[in-house]
């Protein structure tokens, strides 16, 4: 059974961090598992965690009374999930539901925020990685807006 | 030139016409009609625009009486011979429909013998270009083929260049060197009036052989050569690397500038002897049981030309003018191995606002030089 810092080191998101930083992050993490249909978090919940997916599939969804729930994105092994913990008001904007058995590392946002204020080097490393993920997601979202398949009636 | 040259006079020209008609050709040639010299049905030399010439400029066409009896003293008619080989409208097939089935009937293409009287070198090159489009691809057009095979080409060498002519730049004139059955060079000097005849085919040889046996003398032959050599071009188009020039200038601001003048009326495409774009349309009767499929000329200047579900690709005037010009003198070369422009200048004459594609090409070429001279963006050489 691998220790958390080894698991984190293996994950593409944390590549390039040094051993000390990884050990520190491991201190803020725990191994979690979600049964199918379980929610990792719900819209409007306090957002305290971000997740690094190791296995499984997660649906990012939004609910409206008239339309029901709409899945706007699916994420799987290797993806990271959740960034509402970075900035106030620290509330989740969407829900995240496990579509199948999902294993992930959950990192405590409060703990990380505090440490990033103290250790700016670590803060910068994490910010770089999050920015990259956000840009990718933004591009993908823009493409979804463009109606790539030319199918709007 | 070692081939035998003949000489005929005006009276023998009439005999030539009579002979062609006897052989079943309908004669199509220049004639003065409603203030223009147009290609239409003719029978006699008197039908020709004897003593007339034309004055063409950007967006302007007039005919003028001269004070001689030159038979072929004009330059190019408003439309070319294109309309006689590639009809503006033509039926492709008809179909009947009953409750559950349909039956289509094709057109029977009858042989048509047409003699083009007075074809210019640029026009002959244009016919050769349309041959490439309609006969030399993977599929050939049967209607064009049958009309082309039945065409007799009586060429006439130009004695003067029109103001809009630039055939020399395009390598298509002014002298006709091939692609004709017979070529005439009209000589009008020192009180004499004759035509030196060059033969370009077996058919031409047999036709002229039935009219005369008189070989042109060296004096007469030299007089004809002088006529051709005296032609002075007033416009030029620098064709050096023109395709690459246009392909790398898709975003040149000149296109927007010309779009401010262009009306997208499509006159240029109608007058141009090589433009071949066409469209098809269906016509049914009121019962819906009978349909005809027709083909007609089309123009890339229309907004529907590039329509696919959802919208047209070329909506702006700029994009449509750019498409026409880039295709005509640029990408045509990739498609057919030769330029699509023969330098006849019709597009300039018949443009209501006188847009001159030689000027547009020049402006684009110059705009590249200006950028380099000012020390700005380095231009990559073609």
């Amino acid at each position: 059974m691998k220790t958390l810092d080894v698991i984190l080191a293996d994950h593409p998101f944390f590549k390039g961090l040094n051993a000390q930083q990884l050990k520190f992050l491991a201190g803020c993490s725990s191994n979690v598992r979600f049964e199918p249909e379980a929610f990792l978090y719900r819209e409007e919940d306090e957002a305290n965690n971000f997740f690094v997916l190791r296995e499984g599939k997660v649906a990012v969804e939004s609910y409206s009374p008239k339309r029901g729930a709409i899945i706007i994105q699916t994420l799987s092994k290797g993806d990271v999930l959740g960034w509402s913990w970075l900035f106030p008001p620290y509330h989740a904007h969407f829900s995240a539901r496990a579509m199948e058995l999902t294993r992930a590392i959950s990192l405590d946002g409060k703990c990380l925020r505090k440490k990033c204020e103290e250790d700016h080097d670590l803060g910068y490393e994490l910010m770089k990685r999050f920015s990259a993920v956000m840009i990718q997601r933004l591009q993908a979202t823009r493409l979804q807006l463009l109606d790539l398949y030319d199918q709007s009636a | 030139m070692t081939a035998r040259r003949f000489v005929i006079d005006v009276e023998e020209l009439q005999h030539l016409f009579d002979l062609l008609r006897k052989q079943g050709y309908s004669l199509i040639g220049p004639s003065v009609r409603e203030g223009a010299i147009v290609y239409d049905d003719i029978a006699t030399v008197a039908d020709l625009p004897v003593g007339w010439t034309d004055e063409q400029n950007g967006g302007s066409y007039r005919i003028k009486k001269t004070n001689d009896d030159r038979v072929f003293g004009y330059t190019v008619a408003p439309q070319s011979w294109k309309r006689f080989l590639f009809h503006p409208t033509t039926r492709l097939w008809r179909a009947n429909r009953s409750a559950k089935n349909m039956q289509a009937v094709g057109e029977e293409n009858q042989a048509e013998k047409q003699a083009f009287i007075g074809a210019r070198s640029c026009e002959i090159h244009a016919i050769a270009i349309q041959d490439k489009v309609f006969l030399k691809g993977e599929y050939s057009d049967s209607q064009y083929k049958i009309r082309r095979e039945g065409a007799f080409i009586l060429a006439v060498n130009c004695s003067t260049a029109g103001n809009n002519c630039f055939c020399a730049s395009m390598g298509t004139g002014p002298k006709a060197t091939s692609g004709y059955d017979i070529a005439l060079t009209e000589v009008l000097e020192n009180g004499t009036h004759f035509f030196v005849v060059d033969v370009g085919s077996e058919l031409g040889s047999s036709v002229i052989g039935s009219i005369t046996d008189r070989t042109a003398t060296e004096t007469e032959s030299k007089a004809a050569d002088r006529v051709c050599e005296a032609v002075e071009m007033r416009k030029t188009l620098d064709t050096d690397g023109i395709k690459e020039l246009l392909l790398r200038n898709y975003e040149n601001p000149r296109w927007t500038e010309v779009a401010g003048r262009c009306l997208t009326c499509g006159n240029c495409t109608l007058a141009c002897p090589t433009c071949f774009c066409n469209s098809v349309y269906d016509a049914t009767d009121l019962t819906g049981k009978y349909a005809e499929r027709w083909r007609k000329w089309d123009s890339c200047f229309t907004t529907e030309f590039s329509y696919i579900h959802g919208g047209s690709i070329r909506t702006s005037t700029m994009s449509r003018y750019r498409q026409w010009m880039t295709h005509k003198i640029g990408t045509w070369i990739d498609q057919f191995g030769v330029s699509g422009c023969v330098g006849c200048g019709r597009c300039i004459t018949w443009c209501p606002v006188g847009i001159d594609l030689t000027e547009e090409a020049r402006a684009i070429r110059e705009s590249e030089k200006i950028i380099t001279q000012s020390g700005g963006v380095q231009v990559e050489n073609a």
Binding site: Q73, A140 | R97, E138, S279
Partner: protein
């Protein structure tokens, strides 16, 4: 050099199947019994709706089963609407096949990645049939299919069958879905980074709207696929299908006869320019 076949061939509808709310698949057979309809995957026909007009429609059937001529048509205009309303026993006219085809022969010995969206799948289906019938000749096969919603997907039962095979990777994705959808949500380009293929030894066939094609190629290039190994199917206004009417020009090429399938580097100069 063939004479222009202006006179089309008559076909009779044997079956009309609704694929999505605006797309039908028509299966037909020749009325004149004049043999089979041979075609290569990726080619199209000019299909005639009586009294309405002709449109280019890709052939979406199996090239190894030429007894049936299959077209998948989306109702977007007058002609396609007329075609989509044809019932069993009714007739229509066909000219073709025209155009270039997916290079299934050149792809032998390589991985083949097929990326498509919406109604881009029908023109690729013949290639998929061919490849699966000759499976041992190819290495990894990956099919990435995107649509706006699950209701916009065509050939859903076949996609399930293909996915059930162990020798094909099929990934589908939609832009938005209701819970109950177990596939991916996100644009089809997001499936490329994770797809299982060797970028140095793969041929990619792409069919879909130009935006999708452009972004797909960007993702492929990030993985190291070069443009000589990418093939796209283009679409333009067509009136004749044989290079005589001039409508389908894209820069120097005629989409009807130099395409519709192009090696990407051939059309790359024109793809990024507006209103070409």
């Amino acid at each position: 050099m063939k004479p222009q076949r202006i006179l089309p061939r008559l076909y009779r509808v044997q079956q009309s199947r609704l694929e999505t709310y605006d797309t039908w698949t028509l299966e037909s057979e020749p009325v004149d019994g004049d043999g089979v309809f041979s075609f290569a995957p990726g080619q199209f026909n000019m299909v005639y709706g009586f009294g309405v007009g002709e449109v280019p429609i890709s052939i979406s059937g199996d090239p190894a089963k030429p007894e049936r001529l299959i077209h998948t048509v989306r109702s977007v205009g007058a002609v396609t609407k007329a075609l989509c309303s044809l019932k069993k026993g009714e007739e229509f006219y066909v000219r073709g096949p025209y155009g270039t085809h997916w290079p299934v022969e050149n792809a032998v010995g390589h991985d083949v990645v097929i990326v498509t969206g919406g109604v881009g799948l029908p023109p690729l289906r013949p290639a998929v049939y061919h490849i699966l019938s000759n499976r041992e000749k190819y290495k990894r096969i990956v099919l990435l299919y995107g649509a706006r919603t699950p209701q916009d997907m065509v050939f859903t039962s076949e996609l399930k069958r293909w996915r059930a095979r162990f020798d094909v990777d099929v990934e589908t994705t939609v832009d938005a879905a209701k819970p109950g959808w177990h596939g991916n949500v996100g644009v089809v380009t997001t499936l490329i980074p994770r797809a299982n293929f060797d970028a140095q030894n793969t041929k990619v066939f792409i069919c879909g709207p130009e935006i999708m094609t452009r972004f797909t190629i960007l993702e492929l290039q990030k993985r190291g696929v070069t443009t000589e190994n990418i093939f796209v199917s283009m679409e333009r206004n067509m009136k004749c299908g044989i290079g005589h009417c001039g409508h389908c020009q894209l820069g120097s090429v005629f989409v009807c006869k130099d395409g519709p399938v192009f090696r990407y580097d051939k059309v790359q100069p024109f793809m990024s320019k507006r209103e070409i």
